[in-house]
Symmetry: C2
């Protein structure tokens, strides 16, 4: 018999994907340039030339048997070394090659990190709002996602709710405490665009340190950082592993190098993390059962040559400012994003799904945030040509005026 | 706490990898050209120029945003169509694009296929001798590998043992029958080099059809075929899906295109398979939990342009003949391989590990087959320059003469 669990998942269609499919279909009717499709988080700028040049040069000059040969199950040593050196230089955490595990993007990184630090029945805490895929990413490992509600309206981590939850666990007793394996955070955040502040990360580390002591085991921090390089106002994103030793950093080059289809990222294990020396070799073992076996060798090598480059990410800040100013001007309740290519205003009625449905009449494709556990809000993905964002602004104004009298 | 299961796996080092590491270390001492390293199944011939040319052209001429963009979660439609048409044309099974699921090699394909047709506690039957990785590939899905002993000396499937086992299950009752989910086969076979005959496949199909009826549910066939294109004497490998409707074919281009590091393959679902229309979409769901999310877009596209090409695989047949004739001449009990780049003679003493250890004194690196569930045999991987194989032959003769008086 085919697997009934995965069969039943076919009925739970992703809202984002449904809206994106709608936008594509609508584009065929009226021309895609007339559909303001803010549904998908697909980078809109080209990969840096250094990535393309590296890939071409490797293909044209390297011995193909060596170039396309099996990567060691823990990744290509020189690639790991390059990533470790780059991270150490940039963030001051002294990584070595052995602490880097190349993966097929952040999805692959989280699949390994969660399995490494939890077992079936354990809990991984996640903070609303969050990327809805975190639920299958976690639950299909055998562990269980535990959702901590959002901190409205600034969308930093709700530290009080976290502490309350952990107090509750403590009251339930040792078995419940034993199940608390890790927290999974995402900053800059999809869908809110919010960057967790140093203060947030410091307090989170304090709570985790204190509760690890009380619970009698280390609570790990899994930090998902695909948007780390897309940050506004000339700032840099506070690096979570600097604030908490027991951190597994999950990274993808999908956004920074604009290569989401190439599936390249890594897990970086903080050298001060408990059992640091075992975690990457364990991920090699985890790969066997999940059929991972390293990202493409060619892509690993090309990435290593572009490790400190990025695509031209400025367009995202330009777009953010245009949209933020417009939403603000129209009286939307909205936080100014510190990074990513998302903004998450509050809808102009309680039911964000109804709001987004009405927006579709204006060919504005927004995503309601129920699935992100931010009910009442909607996500606008502005990985778009600025020209199109500019053309969308009067349409947004017209929609808000005609439907909501703004 | 870190995961104790994956931690404990660190102690079970792969014999193949240990021997390969020994060979590398020894190569540094005496020169790698003097170590006859027959341990690893790493292709030794370059990828076809068509693959390299396609990859370079894509990089140089395609819009990078499109080229490196997210692949749909079920794979790039044109790539799926190309694979479907190639398989239909070559094997007469009418695949369509929707029945093809691109994966990161056979490991990825098996990870999806097993999960699609089984659930935790189910049994997947495998036939000795088999690739040792099948055990973690299966067991880490939650299903359980059930080993059917080898058919000695021809190493076809032991159909009698299979029938006996299934009879036994029937006696145990409905619950036991419900657990029998699938069989996983591998032809041409690693480690034996044996190609399953039409007769074997036809009889296997008969048994599975009969038992599916008796058990009240379909028993699926998962066919792992990475060596399908490496076949000798101008023959073609009988294509298992032609003989049994409920077949999920797992393929990798690692060997045929000599690109094992690029991690590219697929699952092809027979259109006549039970629930065929659901299986590929289900694999898209399975990907979420295991962090797979498609192989690299660039590699998918380059593969599609080389789908009917192969590297120059003739060297493997040349090497096979040289080794087979030598082993035969020395009185080894050995089957002539029909394909792959492996041969599996019987050792000259009962303990194959002891035999291989003695061979190391002559810098001959063979792999004992206990792990493949063929105790007493050893595997010789002849993906090597023919010149080196020729130089190994007198060393093999010397070893057999001096140690075993042959």
């Amino acid at each position: 018999m085919i697997n009934q669990h995965f069969l039943s998942m076919l009925n739970n269609k992703s809202v984002i994907r449904e809206l994106s499919e709608y936008a594509t279909a609508r584009g065929k009717e009226i021309g895609y340039e007339n559909v303001f499709d803010f549904s998908l988080g697909n980078p809109s700028v080209p990969a840096p030339q250094s990535f393309t040049d590296a890939a071409v040069r490797l293909l044209e000059t390297e011995d193909p048997v060596r170039l396309h040969g099996y990567s060691p199950s823990l990744g290509l040593p020189d690639v790991k070394k390059t990533v470790a050196e780059s991270l150490s230089r940039r963030f001051g955490v002294p990584y070595t090659a052995g602490l880097i595990f190349p993966t097929s993007g952040c999805a692959g990184a989280i699949a390994h990190a969660v399995r490494a630090v939890s077992k079936a029945g354990d809990e991984i805490m996640i903070f609303a709002p969050f990327f809805p895929e975190y639920i299958p990413y976690i639950n299909d490992t055998g562990a269980k996602a535990r959702i901590i509600p959002a901190h409205v309206p600034d969308f930093q981590i709700n530290l009080d709710a976290l502490e309350q939850y952990l107090e509750q666990v403590k009251i339930e007793g040792q078995e419940a405490m034993d199940r608390v394996a890790a927290v999974l955070i995402n900053s800059p955040n999809n869908p809110s665009g919010i960057v967790y502040t140093e203060e947030t990360l410091r307090k989170l580390a304090q709570i985790l340190t204190r509760k690890s002591e009380e619970f009698g085991h280390t609570i790990f921090l899994i930090s998902d950082e695909p948007y780390r390089e897309i940050v506004f106002d000339g700032k840099t994103v506070p690096y979570p592993a600097k604030y908490y030793a027991h951190t597994l950093t999950c990274y993808s080059f999908s956004k920074s190098l604009s290569v989401p289809g190439e599936r390249i990222g890594y897990v970086a294990v903080n050298p001060a993390c408990e059992c640091a020396e075992y975690l990457v070799p364990m991920m090699g073992q985890i790969s066997r059962g999940i059929g991972h076996n390293c990202p493409s060798s060619l892509i690993q090598l090309a990435m290593a040559e572009s490790v400190d480059d990025t695509a031209d990410l400025n367009v995202y800040e330009t777009n953010m400012n245009l949209l933020y100013d417009t939403f603000k001007d129209l009286g939307f309740e909205v936080q100014r994003p510190g990074g990513t290519f998302y903004i998450m205003p509050k809808a102009l009625e309680d039911d964000a799904a109804a709001f987004c449905k009405k927006a579709l009449q204006y060919d504005l494709v927004f995503v309601p945030c129920e699935g992100f556990h931010a009910p009442g809000y909607f996500r606008v993905a502005y990985c778009q040509d600025t020209e199109k964002v500019r053309r969308a602004l009067p349409v947004i104004r017209k929609f808000a005026a005609e439907v909501y009298g703004r």
